[in-house]
């Protein structure tokens, strides 16, 4: 098994062409070791979301390579990338993205269903229990709070024990108290299950739950910080331009 869950080498992504070309990623090299929790931060337009889309196979990079669990997936076609997302990547979105007509448990089980596998209901129960929603297994998303919906989404992302769990502003739509619960669940999956988590966020408090923070500016890696605290991250964010000129 490869020691890194996710690697990108010289990753570039340009939108449009000619004079109007916009460079979202200008050559990024990053490797995420198994069992680590990394926050990716940067101002709007720094390429955070594009990075995540390319890593998840939602978007095709213009250049460079993406390796998931040691396998180069850059040139895979749409079908294989769909399977990749289903089996080896867990995705948590800012907007939860639960299906409104399936119960919490059915939402968690969905990746298995889509893969045409038998649903391991014992595992579904364990995961819902882990995110503290065992009691709510048979509720529809409409009757759950935002924080509860996001925890269901995390349980769903963990179902296949993916190589890497990608989270795009997972607490962006939540108040600070529920955000802490959600971050606690993510942190717990790293500590207890050895899950690898890569989280894009704006929030220094959210970033402080990670082992390391990577700062992106203008599509490049501008700096890193190990053992971040909310204050240190906020201070660094206020002086990102110095990182770039350095």
């Amino acid at each position: 098994m490869s020691p890194t869950a996710l690697e990108v080498h010289d990753l570039t992504r340009t939108y449009g062409s000619g004079d109007r070309a916009v460079t979202a990623l200008a050559g990024i090299d990053l490797a995420f070791a198994r069992g680590t929790f990394t926050a990716v931060m940067g101002p709007s337009g720094s390429g955070k979301s594009t990075f995540l889309s390319c890593a998840a196979g939602l978007d095709r990079p213009t250049g460079g390579r993406v390796l998931v669990g040691g396998t180069d997936v850059t040139e895979w076609d749409e079908d294989r990338r769909t399977r990749l997302r289903r089996e080896r990547i867990g995705f948590v979105f800012q907007g939860f993205h639960l299906l409104p007509y399936l119960t919490a448990a059915q939402n968690v089980a969905l990746p298995s269903r889509l893969a045409g596998k038998r649903v391991d209901w014992e595992r579904v129960r364990c995961l819902l229990d882990r995110v503290g929603l065992a009691e709510r297994a048979h509720h529809l998303p409409g009757s759950l709070s935002g924080g509860q919906q996001q925890r269901v989404a995390i349980a769903r992302a963990l179902l296949t024990a993916p190589d890497v769990l990608l989270a795009d502003e997972p607490t962006g739509a939540l108040d600070s108290a529920t955000a802490r619960q959600v971050l606690g669940v993510l942190r717990g999956s790293v500590a207890d299950l050895g899950q690898t988590v890569v989280m894009v966020t704006h929030d220094p408090v959210a970033a402080s739950y990670a082992d390391e923070v990577v700062f992106l500016v203008d599509g490049r890696v501008a700096g890193r910080m190990a053992g971040p605290t909310a204050d240190a991250v906020a201070g660094q964010l206020a002086h990102l331009d110095e990182l770039v000129s350095a």
Partner: protein
């Protein structure tokens, strides 16, 4: 509000197509037959009656059908825009203003369509008259004699009916406080309102009573068409009554599908979506039920009539023409409604279908789940529609001494069912092709 309405229309021409078509075709049909009624004034004795009946029956049924289809198309576009209307209301539009926006938008579409329909009808009117004359329904002595009055009247009638339908749909869309509207329409089921159940029961009850009257009273009448008069519309009435109950029928009907679903992801998704969001798909089920019941009931009626009254009598040709026109009209409009309802539901669910792609569903699975839903709707629709059609078939068959089961024409049932199922599945596929560039890419942000 008017300029906002026009601007919003220009922004979304596709949503207007179904309403436009319904009004255009409605005016065209009613207008063409209205010219016959107008021509009756100078016509000699038996012809004038025939012409008036042709105009009145088609006009009457046509108005009812246009009312339903415009209410359904405007209702669907209004529901689709719940978020936008909620937004207008949160920034200070009163419910009345929001309603006016919807009514004026559909008013503008209906006006254009009605004018075009009326113009076309003044061209098709003489053609229809020639057809009626060459069919021997009216004698050679009668002349086509209709001015702009009849087609303009038809256009006005359709306009009034559409305005009424739009007002009904708008009222439904703006009910309740503003804040509650700005939400994704989730799985919450609105409870059936009491008046809806009442309307359904009245329609079904009326159809059943007419069926009983057909067997016990009019079957023994000297006029062979007395039985047809009491039983002919029963299938349509019972069908509409059952269509009003569509959300409940969907919830019940989806249950057996779940048992058959097994581990298939598409069937699993389809069965839960049909059951838990019945309010979305009931807009599709309703026309499927009415289409099946009206088409099957009326076609079997005409078939039994032709067999048991081979020579016919002086009224036969007129009655057959009317039956065929009404069934054709109903089928046409129901088909428009089915297609439109699918386009609308798929557009409405775009985000959600995209979500499935992000979670690792293949484009095929996403398409499959929508088509499977259409299959569930079609299955429930044809079963319920066939039951409704019995309200016409059984009493008329008894009245014409063929017993509970007609002596022939039984092939019509599978033929109608096959056509309806094919239409439903094809519109679902078409809607998916139109709406879903189901690539998982760009919209991830």
């Amino acid at each position: 509000m008017s300029s906002l309405a026009l601007r919003s229309l220009r922004h979304r021409p596709r949503a207007a197509v179904a309403t436009f078509l319904a009004v255009l075709l409605g005016t065209l049909l009613i207008g063409s037959f209205a010219t016959l009624a107008e021509s009756s004034s100078g016509a000699p004795a038996p012809d004038d009656g025939t012409l008036v009946i042709l105009g009145a029956v088609v006009g009457g049924w046509g108005s009812v059908i246009v009312l339903f289809s415009v209410a359904s198309t405007v209702g669907i576009t209004a529901t689709q825009r719940a978020t936008e209307i909620g937004l207008l209301r949160t920034i200070g539009a009163t419910p009345r203003q929001a309603r006016r926006l919807i009514v004026r938008e559909s008013g503008a579409i209906a006006a254009c369509a009605a004018v075009l329909g009326a113009l076309a009808a003044s061209a098709t009117g003489p053609l229809l008259f020639e057809l009626v004359q060459s069919g021997g329904l009216v004698s050679e002595r009668t002349q086509y004699d209709a001015g702009p009055a009849s087609v303009a009247g038809a256009g006005l009638l359709v306009l009034v009916v559409s305005a009424l339908a739009a007002a009904m749909a708008a009222r439904r869309a703006t009910r309740g406080p503003a804040g509650t509207l700005v939400r994704e329409s989730g799985a919450e089921q609105a409870r059936m309102r009491w008046w809806r159940i009442a309307i359904a029961l009245v329609l079904i009850g009326y159809g059943v009573v007419m069926a009983v009257i057909t067997v016990t009273v009019t079957a023994h009448d000297d006029d062979p068409y007395a039985a047809m008069a009491t039983s002919g519309s029963s299938s349509i009435l019972v069908g509409v009554g059952l269509a009003v109950l569509a959300p409940v029928l969907l919830r019940w009907g989806a249950r057996p599908v779940r048992l058959l679903a097994g581990t298939s992801a598409t069937a699993h998704l389809a069965s839960y979506n049909t059951a838990r969001r019945a309010h979305l798909l009931s807009g599709v089920l309703a026309p499927v039920v009415v289409l099946t019941s009206a088409a099957l009931g009326t076609l079997m009626l005409v078939d039994i009539d032709g067999r048991t009254l081979p020579g016919g009598n002086p009224d036969s040709d007129t009655i057959n023409l009317l039956n065929n026109v009404v069934v054709g009209m109903l089928s046409l409009f129901a088909a428009i409604m089915v297609v439109n309802a699918f386009v609308a539901t798929v557009a409405h669910r775009r985000d959600e279908l995209h979500r499935l792609r992000l979670l690792g569903a293949t484009p095929r699975q996403v398409r499959g789940s929508v088509v499977a839903e259409a299959g569930v709707v079609a299955a429930i629709g044809v079963v319920v529609g066939t039951v409704a059609a019995l309200a016409t078939i059984v009493p008329f068959s008894v009245a014409r001494h063929e017993g509970v089961v007609p002596d022939g024409g039984l092939w019509l049932a599978p033929a109608v069912v096959a056509a309806v199922v094919a239409l439903t599945l094809a519109s679902a596929r078409g809607a998916m092709r139109g709406a879903a560039e189901v690539g998982a890419g760009e919209t991830a942000r």
